[in-house]
């Protein structure tokens, strides 16, 4: 089943302003893990926001879960994770995770049950009563992932979620994210500008190029599942990394010709 269908989407900021996206077509099936990769200015975050109906495309259509993006947002069909954890300082970790559940009108008891499950899922059991500022950056980002998954959305949108973390934490969270993806059965759209992260995580990598932002290549990642720490050491991993890197460079050359 198709979870996300983007058809001929373009986005221009302001009249006569920058063309952030042009003629984007993209279909994402259930259980896929799709990474959007490209240099800054290629519109990958913009595309993610259009899928989430946080901004509107100038033209084209977006269908999420078989309905227009706006309806999907109102039905709370997706969870979103930003580069910053965006946790509310005035709420405890547990209450942060419960925020979308409050919005959806879950009764208190069911909320606290779910919060406990989510804390276990991201391996933060026992931190529910802490305040966000008492946690490390990596832990905060795990809270924000737990919050995004708490109401069991079919789709998870992630905008460079590990971009602000150090390499070690990042690789550990990559592994954890794959585990969460497997357990939760959700579909993930993941924005990144790290080639190895995109290859390691994804079932497909969408390569984008800037000015105007467009899709220059789509590369299927056929590394076996489940992926482990040793996946990064396999020859096939390096081949795919090289393939994505070359696609990125081709995109840039195309830009300089145009």
């Amino acid at each position: 089943m198709t979870v996300v269908a983007v058809k001929d989407v373009s986005k221009q900021f302001g009249r006569g302003g920058t063309v952030a996206l042009q003629g984007i077509d993209l279909e994402i099936a259930e259980r896929e893990f799709v990474s959007l990769i490209g240099p800054s200015g290629c519109g990958k975050s913009t595309l993610l926001r259009i899928i989430g109906d946080l901004i509107q495309p100038s033209s084209g259509s977006v269908v999420v879960n078989g309905k227009p993006a706006r309806e999907a947002r109102i039905d709370r069909d997706y969870g979103i994770v930003f580069q910053d954890p965006v946790l509310y300082d005035w709420r405890t970790v547990g209450k942060n995770i419960a925020l979308p559940l409050e919005m959806a009108g879950w009764p208190r008891r069911r909320r606290s049950e779910r919060v406990r499950e989510m804390l276990d899922l991201v391996e933060l059991g026992g931190f529910g009563d802490h305040h966000p500022w008492q946690l490390s950056g990596g832990m905060q980002q795990r809270v924000s992932i737990a919050r995004a998954l708490s109401f069991d959305p079919a789709l998870l949108l992630m905008d460079e979620p590990f971009g602000a973390l150090d390499e070690m934490t990042r690789e550990r969270l990559n592994l954890e994210l794959l585990l969460i993806w497997e357990r939760s059965g959700s579909t993930i759209v993941f924005v990144t500008h790290s080639i190895s992260e995109a290859v390691f995580l994804s079932t497909r990598v969408v390569v984008m190029s800037p000015r105007p932002g467009r899709i220059s290549d789509v590369i299927a990642i056929d590394l076996p599942q489940p992926r482990t720490a040793t996946t990064r050491e396999e020859p096939r991993f390096f081949e795919l990394v090289t393939q994505v890197r070359e696609a990125l460079h081709l995109g840039r050359e195309a830009e300089s010709i145009a």
Binding site: R73, R76, Y78, I80, Y88, D89, M103, H131
Partner: protein, 277 residues
């Protein structure tokens, strides 16, 4: 200086320094006979210990002690100021919320809110007293209204500023939850605005005392600190310590209002320690 003991020590030290400065200045000017910028004597600058001593002397011949008279007056003024503060803070908050949601009104109403604060309170006070008096409301309530008039403005401005300070990503997050404006207001905007609002409440808490004292003057209310100030300023040349002592008590009342707000802030505002304003 994190510990309570450390902070207490600093407070005592500063108080001692101020005391020393006052008495030192007095001593030097009396000794040298300097008269610039003013003559120093027991009328212009009474000994501080005389001021505090006066609190324990009878206010009138065979009357109660000055301190008990002033405390009673303080309680009266505190009631006016507290009611005024509550009304002003509530009105200020509501106005801030309304202005934050309707940009048109910001342009339309804000100039008048600013103008309201430039009008001398001594002009407004008698009008309020006379108008509300004609409606059969008690005098102290008129004074509370005057106090509210001085209280609302900082709260409005900071509420407006605070509501607009909500994190852009956090707003996107609320949008992703399909949260309506009311939800966004209470779950995100107001909590993010609280540090701003409390900064204003601290200013307003002391302003509400000033407003109450000033409000008492033209409304011929004798029961509050304003009445006492008026009374003792008439006896200043013969008994300067009376006015100074009233001053000390009025300041103490302002400080205690401030401390109440500070304590409320500690309870209500939960923030990362480095983000506390």
């Amino acid at each position: 200086m994190r510990s309570a003991v450390g902070r207490g020590a600093v407070f005592v030290l500063v108080a001692a320094l101020l005391w020393g400065f006052w008495e030192g200045y007095r001593w030097l000017w009396t000794r040298t006979g300097w008269t610039w910028p003013f003559r120093v004597d027991a009328t212009s600058m009474p000994h501080l210990h005389d001021v505090f001593h006066a609190l324990w002397l009878p206010a009138r011949y065979q009357g109660p002690r000055l301190i008990s008279v002033l405390l009673k007056a303080s309680a009266f003024t505190a009631k006016e100021a507290a009611v005024g503060f509550a009304m002003g803070a509530a009105a200020g908050f509501v106005l801030g919320v309304v202005l934050a949601h309707f940009r048109v009104l910001q342009r339309g109403i804000l100039p008048y809110a600013v103008a309201s604060q430039t009008v001398p309170i001594l002009v407004v006070a008698p009008m309020v007293v006379i108008y509300l008096g004609s409606k059969g409301l008690p005098g102290w309530f008129s004074v509370a209204v005057i106090s509210a008039y001085l209280t609302f403005f900082p709260v409005t401005i900071n509420t407006l500023r605070g509501l607009q300070a909500a994190d852009r990503r956090a707003l996107e997050l609320m949008r992703s939850y399909a949260a309506g404006p009311w939800r966004v207001l209470w779950k995100l905007r107001v909590p993010s605005a609280l540090p701003f609002i409390f900064a204003a409440l601290k200013v307003s808490a002391t302003a509400s005392i000033v407003g109450a004292v000033i409000g008492e003057l033209p409304s011929s209310i004798q029961d509050g600190l304003g009445g006492q100030i008026l009374n003792y300023s008439q006896y200043y040349s013969t008994q300067p310590t009376g006015l100074w002592a009233t001053n000390v008590i009025a300041a103490a009342l302002g400080i205690s209002f401030f401390i109440v707000i500070l304590a409320a802030e500690k309870i209500v505002v939960r923030r990362a320690p480095e983000n506390v304003a």
